[in-house]
């Protein structure tokens, strides 16, 4: 992985921002703009996964949990905003006199909701990450545990139909912080906020990668013991990356709700979490743009092929995992470097340096 020159990556983000914020709203129809917004939500979560997994070596297979924290916070607020003073419709369905559950009440406030979208994932990921990383849980254990959490949360939401809407989820939002969601102009605004957030996340991650922290993170991924011997605590470095990635997943989830108009446990469970990983693996886990672009590509496949040709799409997704991980572990974004290396000298490029470190993790 050669480091991009500072102006190249910054210029890339600039071009990306212009494409998303200036070109797309003009060129695309309302329908496709909305879809693009949805892909942007997945891309925001993917940028975080790229940070935690690509740079930090933590395979986060349960980002659905944090996606859900943001999404359900937002959805609860929008539901209450739509319902006004009354109790949301789906709750009355089972019991006409059902009171509003206590944990819903604070989400009436817009300010509280925004704070919750940011603070909830930070607190949850902070506690979880602190406990796991300090006990040096890593590698496959970490991946399985996070995946188990996503399964557990999805099951919990499915089973609490009275409090969270269960499998049908939360939907039918009419207002978004006072704006009417049906208005096309407001839809463009929601899209623009999402796209701007994605660009912001890319900028933040770029800054992190170029900082001392980014160097430490990569070092902790490749040789955790050496980092420890040098006097740093890898747990803290990984914790920060994990919390930032959780925050990004939550933001992606929060914007997903007004754009798509529904959130269900299916969007946050094990399968959804794996879908988020798929995009990152496809695009290139350790690169700056790879995760975002990969997630958008997979998102496009999921929403177009996934609905018109679901059987085929699942096969494609499965093959994508197998082929990309087997032959192109650093994703599509590593192709240019590979070609360049092949042109310089005909022999194949050396095996990636992460291999040895990962082996250590599982064997230990």
């Amino acid at each position: 992985m050669t480091k991009l020159k500072p102006w190249i990556s910054l210029g890339g983000i600039g071009v990306f921002a212009v494409l998303l914020l200036a070109v797309a709203p003009v060129v695309l129809s309302d329908h496709w703009l909305n879809n693009l917004g949805k892909y942007c939500c997945w891309a925001i979560a993917a940028v975080g996964i790229g940070l935690a997994w690509g740079r930090g070596g933590m395979l986060v297979m349960g980002q659905g949990v944090f996606f859900a924290l943001g999404a359900y916070s937002m959805a609860m607020h929008l539901t209450l905003e739509t319902a006004g003073d009354r109790v949301p419709g789906f709750m009355v369905l089972y019991d006409p006199l059902a009171p509003l559950p206590a944990f819903w009440e604070p989400f009436r406030s817009a300010g509280f909701t925004l704070v919750a979208i940011v603070l909830l994932p930070v607190v949850v990921a902070g506690i979880l990450g602190y406990a796991l990383f300090k006990r040096r849980v890593k590698g496959a254990y970490f991946a399985i545990l996070t995946q188990a959490l996503a399964v557990a949360l999805a099951t919990l939401i499915s089973s609490t139909i009275r409090e969270t809407g269960g499998d049908t989820g939360l939907s039918d939002f009419k207002y978004f912080f006072g704006f009417v969601l049906n208005d096309p102009a407001n839809k463009v605004m929601v899209y623009a906020i999402t796209a701007a957030l994605l660009v912001g996340c890319l900028l933040a991650v770029r800054q992190l990668y170029r900082s001392r922290f980014g160097e430490l993170l990569v070092a902790a991924r490749d040789a955790e013991e050496r980092v420890r011997f040098l006097g740093y605590d890898p747990a803290n470095v990984k914790l920060v990356a994990f919390v930032v990635s959780a925050l990004m997943a939550s933001v992606g989830g929060a914007m997903f709700v007004p754009l798509v108009g529904i959130i269900t446990p299916a969007e946050i469970g094990a399968a959804a979490s794996i879908l988020m990983i798929a995009g990152v693996a496809f695009g290139g886990r350790a690169s700056l743009f790879g995760p975002a672009l990969g997630a958008m590509a997979v998102g496009w496949g999921q929403s177009s092929l996934g609905s018109t040709w679901p059987e085929g799409w699942t096969y494609i997704l499965g093959l994508l995992f197998v082929v990309v991980i087997l032959f192109l572990p650093h994703g599509l974004s590593s192709l240019p470097a590979r070609f360049a290396a092949m042109r310089r000298r005909p022999e194949p490029p050396p095996a990636p340096a992460i291999a040895a470190a990962e082996l250590e993790e599982v064997r230990s």
Binding site: G57, L59, A131, L132, R135, R136, V137, K138, G139, A140, Y141, A143, I144, L145, Q147, A148, L149, V151, A152, L153, T155, L156, S158, S159, E224, E225, A270, I274, I277, A281, E311, T314, Y315, L317, G318, L319, L320, F321, V322, I325, L326, P329, A351, I354, A355, A356, E358, L359, E360, E361, V362, R363, S364
Partner: protein
């Protein structure tokens, strides 16, 4: 107290099923360090094998005893195929193995969905599993007793095989020190293949047991894979006794939680219990002391 005995017995049967599912994993994950997310789909293959065998032998009393070895061989061959085509290239990248096998499991699930009816297939319970066993005034379904017996047989056979046969010794030698094993003339490549065959085959047996207790459909593998991994992790890597205790504990906990709350909430609670347990003992119940640093 009256409520406790059924929960204990039910839970033991659930634990036995989990143990069967985890047994193969503890071999491939514990001994080889390969994280096979398609293990659940091998289990599903075993369950569908039970159904297919019943189509051939017309659901007689013999169908399940016949299905067990067929499922073992069938799932084992699938595992062997996976090892030979994909996993052999991935031994140096364990975390990536996890993702590759996620892809394989997606493909197998979809294939099962298209080959078999989407609502699943019925596996008929043979007549000799219909009765109940009276334990302290509680009628314990024979199906559950059968699951426990099957798990006990598998565990005994596996540990005896690992301990006393020449194959078992070679597997253990390869696990402990691959280079040295190679030097003494053991073909570590064929040992890898053999281990993977047996591990996947055990998933097939678990599938037959699962088909007698729950539904047989394309999603069933996904249900078992995460709990099975948690059981292996909580039991400690490379330790059969840890896996056994962990599986039993999780089974009983699931059953008790389900009695006090609801089925899905019980799953959530059991997951959280295991996760909290792994905080306290990240290496699992029993650990093998190694000289590695971490």
């Amino acid at each position: 107290m009256d409520a406790l005995i059924p929960q204990l017995l039910n839970g033991s049967a659930q634990g036995a099923l989990l143990l069967l599912a985890a047994l193969g994993l503890s071999l491939t994950f514990g001994q080889m360090g390969v994280i096979n997310m398609a293990h659940g789909e091998f289990l599903m293959l075993g369950a569908f094998t039970a159904y297919l065998v019943q189509q051939v032998i017309a659901a007689g009393d013999l169908s399940i005893p016949v299905a067990l070895p067929v499922a073992f061989a069938g799932a084992g061959l699938f595992g062997l195929l996976l090892e030979v085509t994909i996993i052999r290239w991935m031994y140096r990248r364990p975390l990536d193995t996890l993702l590759v096998t996620v892809g394989v499991s997606l493909i197998l699930q979809q294939a099962a969905l298209q080959i078999f009816p989407s609502q699943g297939v019925p596996v008929e319970k043979p007549g000799w599993l219909d009765g109940q066993l009276n334990v302290l005034g509680y009628g314990w379904p024979l199906r559950q007793v059968f699951t426990i017996a099957l798990a006990a047989v598998c565990v005994t056979a596996l540990s005896a095989w690992l301990k006393y046969t020449s194959f078992g010794r070679r597997i253990r030698a390869t696990v402990h020190n691959r280079d040295l094993a190679e030097t003494t003339g053991i073909s570590t490549r064929s040992i890898d293949r053999l281990t993977f065959f047996v591990g996947s085959g055990l998933a097939g047996i678990a599938g037959v047991a699962a088909s007698l207790i729950g539904g047989t459909n394309s999603q069933m593998g996904a249900q078992y894979i995460i709990p099975a991994f948690l059981v292996v992790a909580a039991g400690g890597i490379g330790q059969l006794k840890g896996t056994i205790i962990a599986a039993w504990a999780v089974g009983v906990a699931l059953s008790c939680f389900a009695y006090w709350t609801t089925g899905s909430l019980a799953q959530v609670l059991a997951f959280i219990l295991v996760i909290v347990f792994l905080q306290v003992r990240p290496q699992g119940l029993f650990t093998v002391r190694t000289r590695s640093l971490a």
